[in-house]
Amino acid sequence: MEDDTKQTTAWLTAPILLSYALFGTLPFWIEAVGLYHYLGAEILIWVIFALGYNLLLGYTGLPSFGHGAFLGIGAYAFGLAQFEVWPNLWFCLAAAVVVTGLFGAATALFLSHRRGIYFALMTIAFGQIYFFIASKWTDVTHGEDGLLNIARLPVTLGPVELPTAGNVEFYYLCFAVYAVLVVVLWRLTNSPYGRVLRAIKQNETRVAFVGYPVTLYKWSVFTLSCAVAGLAGGLFAMAQEGAYINVMSLQWSGIIVLMVLIGGGFVSFWGPVLGVVLYFVARDVLGAYTETWLLWFGLMFMALVMFKPQGLAGIWQDLVRRTASRRRRLPAPATEAEG
């Protein structure tokens, strides 16, 4: 992830503003391109989930194959907070974040001193454990039926109350959450903390030998990405007006990995966003023609892994680099030219 200095010190960058412009106007044009408003909300929720997940996968190099469990936990926590405690949007979202963060923190205790395949296997094990618990603990989760009738709670800002029941209204709630979160995560990934995470991905041993408590960093980033998953889960519960177990399955945990990799989470902050958009557009566009769209999507994934492991973001970076060096009629910067 090579970012120039001007970008890495800014709070609002050109890509962030561009994403605001695109997502901010989406309800006005999405139907014109043959899609629908609910899809927009779905995309933003998964973008939030994917951006948080990429802290772990793309930045720290820690492959979690059980992350869907945390999206599910966030959805249940949101629903239970609404039914059992206080049906207030801010409270319920906070509950989803905190509860999922706590589950993440506890899980991370077992994971943060592990590396590579052992780390990956443990995440699968924990994902399966949570899935199993959710399916059997029917008093709380209602098992296969799901936790039904979760309401889209209105946004309360002092005396003002904005409804979120309609898909467009709800979309703008998701957009507001996205707009804040993307800046927070952008700053975070360009802070010293983010720098250490990226160093851990490259060489965990050396990070320890220049004085960083690597285990604590891995624990904290796992917890953080779970908290973000919880936030996405809370929104997801409202979107679906229910919390269901299927997102906690191994398959859905795999799909988030696929989205982030296809988008290029390893080389770009924006990789997860591209991947999520591609996934959902492919689902709806390819899905309209063929039942086996996931097969085609999977083949696309394989082709990408074979020919361009850096994903969509990697292809984009190559294009930018090529046109930039052609325009200047100069060789690419030394760091690239010799690489």
Binding site: T8, P192, R195, V196, Q202, R206, A208, F209, V210, T335
Partner: protein, 247 residues
């Protein structure tokens, strides 16, 4: 009392005993050399001394405190740093960023999520000074993968130096270097010696004998000989081994 002292270190991997019984003491302000044949356990000894592995028996003391089995980052915080025999750099980072992350001032804010590192001119100046010291001036922005082998070896030491250690362990710094680069490295180490206590594993005996104040020979997981370079020249094991023109 010595700045650093190891007593009765024993380390095994499964059934294979690699360190039988290691006793070592390094005096402040000196350059201590370690030599020995391939597979003698020199790197393993460094790994135990710097916290990568816990010893099965024995103790390690630094500056009066027991640091046996302490995690590497705690040992670094006390002022010990090391370079690696097999290069251990951050391959996606520029030379500068490799050094920046090792600076104590950056480490102190490692959990900061608001500080903008790229705007931190003080950190950059310090990192540039470190790169200048190890002969990488002008190569700051170059990606590690694009550096030459010799430059990466220099950076390997630069990263270790950036933590501002009082005691620096270097593992075979000349490995794979040509004569010119080896001479420059000798220059650098002579300069470092003035402010930093150094322990150096080295196969190139001419290099080691010209720099070290004391040398320990490790063989079969034990220290089989110890002394000044002059004393060791008379040692039968050293005489028998490939000293070449030195003896």
């Amino acid at each position: 009392m010595a700045l650093f002292e190891a007593r009765g270190l024993h380390k095994r991997f499964g059934a294979q005993v690699v360190l039988e019984e290691i006793n070592l003491a390094f005096e402040a302000g000196q350059l201590s050399g370690i030599m020995g044949p391939n597979g003698a356990g020199k790197t393993t000894c460094f790994n135990v001394l710097t916290g990568r592995y816990k010893p099965d028996r024995g103790s390690v003391r630094f500056d009066g405190a027991d640091i046996t089995g302490m995690a590497p980052h705690r040992i670094v915080a006390r002022g010990i740093s090391r370079s690696f025999q097999i290069m251990n750099l951050f391959d996606e980072y520029s030379a500068l960023d490799n050094v920046v992350i090792a600076l104590p001032q950056v480490r102190a804010r490692g959990f900061s999520v608001t500080h903008a590192l790229d705007a931190d001119t003080d950190a950059r100046d310090r990192a540039e000074a470190v790169l200048d010291r190890v002969g990488l001036k002008g190569r700051e922005r170059v990606n590690v993968r694009s550096l030459s082998y010799g430059e990466r070896r220099a950076l390997e030491i630069g990263v270790a130096l950036a933590t501002e250690p009082r005691l620096l362990f270097v593992d075979e710094p000349t490995a794979g270097l040509g004569t010119g680069a080896t001479a420059r490295l000798a220059e650098l180490i002579r300069e470092l010696k003035r402010h930093t206590t150094i322990v150096m594993i080295e196969h190139d005996m001419r290099f080691l004998f010209s720099l070290a104040d004391r040398i320990s020979v490790i063989h079969w997981g034990q220290v089989i000989a110890e002394g000044t370079p002059e004393e060791l020249r008379e040692n039968p094991w050293v005489r028998r081994s490939n000293l070449g023109g030195l003896a």
